[in-house]
């Protein structure tokens, strides 16, 4: 068992028994559920919307090289720079070298999961650059030295009281009543100073538009707008899978992303950037740099079974619907991307043997498949990961023997009946001796935290024989 796997189990136990955490997540998810349902009702046909978006993303990926080079050509034509990075190190080195060459002391960042993935902020801090996360949720978790809890709402695990205490300790701002409006105002003051002193703004991209060579950014707070408007250098860091063929595709993608992400009809600031400031414009950055990041994405593409994972638009809908996420929360996963998409993405890109256990953080309820706005078959992906995890030797001899025995037992009705009878008898003995929940209990994984199951007098097969055909 990998360390990450042991850590997952340890944290899962703690979190699922943490009543305060449960209450916060239940409240947050209930509010999301209501908003998303209302948002979907604005569509004439939500299913058709998902189909269209899935087709757009699939088309982008099927012609990825052509679209990426078209995007690149258009950015270069208008004076922008495009840098290709095969891995995190190459991407970080480019931005760090640029910061050094341009004498950058302060960087403002808008929320971007790919920069979390490559640990860009840490690389910049290492050379003495101050990095401000400017999305409010990201800002809060940055002050707590924590990774984001959720890919859309990074601080959803915290109460306003905890945030008020954090602001008092870290910002010297006293918001006694912990009123959300006053907390936001306090953060706004601190971050406005950062925006107007920063030399470099770093953003991600929700989409890279091939036919017009544009970077599409969706934000509600406006921090993405300030990040890309005030500092003199704008750096975009984006995964290569963000490409979409046409600007007109946004007519479906923008509303679908917003609805799946937060239930909004469209994000407040739906922004398209095609270059640095041009002649005659009063403001905007003097330089635009786009860093196109591979970091494992071409491996997903090379495997016909996993290429659909690249359609993901990072809306967070699969996290919100997932019964596992709702129990254990975002930090338990220990990976940059949590929830179903993270449990698919992380083992495939960061290593099956260390992260393969995440493909079991799933009850195969298939709810995520039903909400994914680009129709990724996440349960199937998790099963494929499990298959590959086992095939690469990540299985104990006990487990192997157990499943061999199980296969042997279920292959014959007589053996199945016999095993069932023996199992019931054995459990009855365990329960009678008061050993339930101990190491001697074969059901201890379940009964460690729960009262023993009441054993039925007869097997289901016997019951069905007597009552089933009524």
């Amino acid at each position: 068992m990998s360390t990450a796997s042991q850590e997952f189990l340890r944290r899962a136990v703690v979190k699922s028994a943490d009543l305060e955490h449960r209450a916060i997540i239940q409240r947050g998810m209930a509010s999301y559920d209501a908003a998303a349902a209302k948002g979907r009702s604005r569509f004439a046909d939500w299913e058709a919307a998902r189909t269209r978006c899935a087709a757009i993303k699939a088309e982008g990926i099927a012609n990825l090289a052509q679209h990426l080079t078209e995007f690149e050509r258009r950015i270069l034509e208008r004076g922008g720079r495009v840098h290709w990075a095969e891995n995190a190190e190459q991407a970080n080195n480019y931005v760090v070298d640029l910061a050094r060459a341009r004498n950058v002391k302060t960087v403002v960042k808008s929320k971007s999961m790919v920069t979390e993935e490559i640990h860009l902020a840490g690389a910049l801090e290492k050379i003495g650059v101050t990095v401000w996360e400017t999305d409010l949720g990201e800002f809060i978790v940055q002050l707590r030295n924590e990774p984001p809890y959720h890919i859309v709402t990074p601080a959803m695990h915290l109460t306003r009281r905890q945030i008020a205490d954090l602001f008092r300790d870290k910002l010297g701002e006293n918001v006694e009543d912990a009123d959300p409006g006053r907390l936001v105002a306090a953060a706004r003051v601190a971050l406005r100073r950062a925006f107007f002193s920063a030399e470099m703004g770093i953003s991600g991209a929700n989409f890279l538009v091939a036919d017009t060579g544009m970077i599409a950014l969706s934000t509600n707070e406006g921090n993405g707008r300030l990040t890309t408007s005030i500092p003199r250098i704008h750096v975009v860091v984006a995964g290569i899978e963000k490409i979409i063929p046409r600007m007109s595709d946004l007519a479906a993608l923008w509303p679908v992303l917003a609805t799946a992400g937060t239930g909004q009809p469209i994000t407040t600031y739906s922004t398209l950037i095609r270059s640095a400031r041009v002649a005659g414009e009063p403001d905007g950055p003097q330089e635009l740099h786009v860093v196109l990041v591979d970091n494992g994405r071409t491996d997903l593409l090379a495997n016909p079974e996993t290429e659909e994972v690249l359609k993901c638009i990072r809306c967070g809908a699969c996290l919100n619907i997932c019964p596992i996420f709702r129990q254990v929360g975002g930090h338990t996963y220990g990976s940059i991307y949590p929830g179903p998409i993270g449990s698919v993405y992380t083992p495939r890109t960061a290593g099956l043997s260390e992260w393969g256990h995440l493909s079991y953080a799933c009850s195969l309820c298939t709810a995520c498949k039903g909400v994914c706005p680009v129709k990724i078959d996440l349960p199937k992906q998790l099963l494929l990961s499990r298959r590959d995890f086992i095939a690469t030797g990540n299985v104990t001899p006990t487990e192997r023997a157990g499943f061999a025995g199980f296969r042997w037992a279920v292959a014959s009705a007589r053996r199945f009946r016999l095993m069932g009878w023996m199992g019931r008898k054995a459990l009855a003995v365990v329960n009678a001796l008061g050993l339930s929940g101990t190491a001697l209990d074969p059901m201890s994984v379940w009964t460690k935290y729960r009262s023993p199951m009441k054993l039925p007098k007869q097997s289901f097969r016997a019951w069905w024989g007597e009552n089933g055909n009524g």
Partner: protein, 213 residues
């Protein structure tokens, strides 16, 4: 950093080309937008309804005198301080009204300062489907719509387009050179603290549209 590593580019593209060389399933037929979104029968009414929903303040006027009076009334609710105005012929008469009580900084004179209390700009269009404003860096730059706490947009009823698709068409025709284009839908907001909606996160707390008919 001037010596861009070309090998990374070639390596990535080679991997993509190799992966995508395999035979693919026939792509699904594209679902038309008409099948996805309900029809919009009355774009003006839809625009007003959506603005009410996303907390954009809309004032309708019937002539330039009405617009001037409306602007003066809006300004009376804005704290004392400078107003940043897009340098456009159409906005000159309105800038003159602002000048009666406040300092005006024109977009041709530079970027909006942080202390600016409001901005006044034009728009390329208004989107009925979502109650959005189609703007760009040609509308007084990038900061005009995000730096001041109150953004006032002046436009005409004929500028309303039915949906996002039509707005994106207009991006191609109306703003070919602008470095930034954006659909702005309501004021800056966040729900990052306990999912409670707060207006005025980093950008304007108020988005005001004066629609002259």
């Amino acid at each position: 950093m001037e010596t861009v590593k070309t090998s990374a580019r070639e390596n990535i593209l080679a991997r993509i080309v190799k992966a995508n060389a395999r035979p693919r399933l026939v792509p699904l037929p594209v679902v038309p937008l008409e099948a996805i979104f309900p029809p919009i029968s009355d774009p003006r009414q839809r625009f007003l309804d959506e603005c009410a929903g996303n907390l954009t303040e809309v004032f309708q006027t019937s002539d330039s005198a009405g617009t001037a009076a409306t602007l003066a009334a809006i300004l009376s609710t804005v704290p004392a301080g400078d107003v940043y105005v897009q340098d456009a012929e159409e906005l000159r008469p309105l800038a003159a009204i602002i000048l009666q009580s406040r300092q005006v900084l024109l977009s041709s004179e530079g970027a909006p300062a942080e202390r600016t209390q409001a901005s006044l700009t034009l728009a390329h269009g208004f989107v009925a489907q979502t109650g959005s404003i189609l703007t760009s860096s040609a509308c007084g730059g990038r900061g005009a719509s995000i730096v001041p706490p109150c953004h006032i947009v002046y436009g005409h009823g004929e500028q309303i387009v039915p949906d996002i698709a039509a707005a994106l068409d207009r991006v191609r025709s109306a703003v070919p050179g602008a470095s930034y284009v954006g659909l702005i839908t309501g004021s800056s907001r966040t729900a990052d603290i306990e999912k409670i909606l707060v207006q005025g996160a980093h950008g304007p707390r108020r988005l005001v549209v004066i629609l002259e008919n």
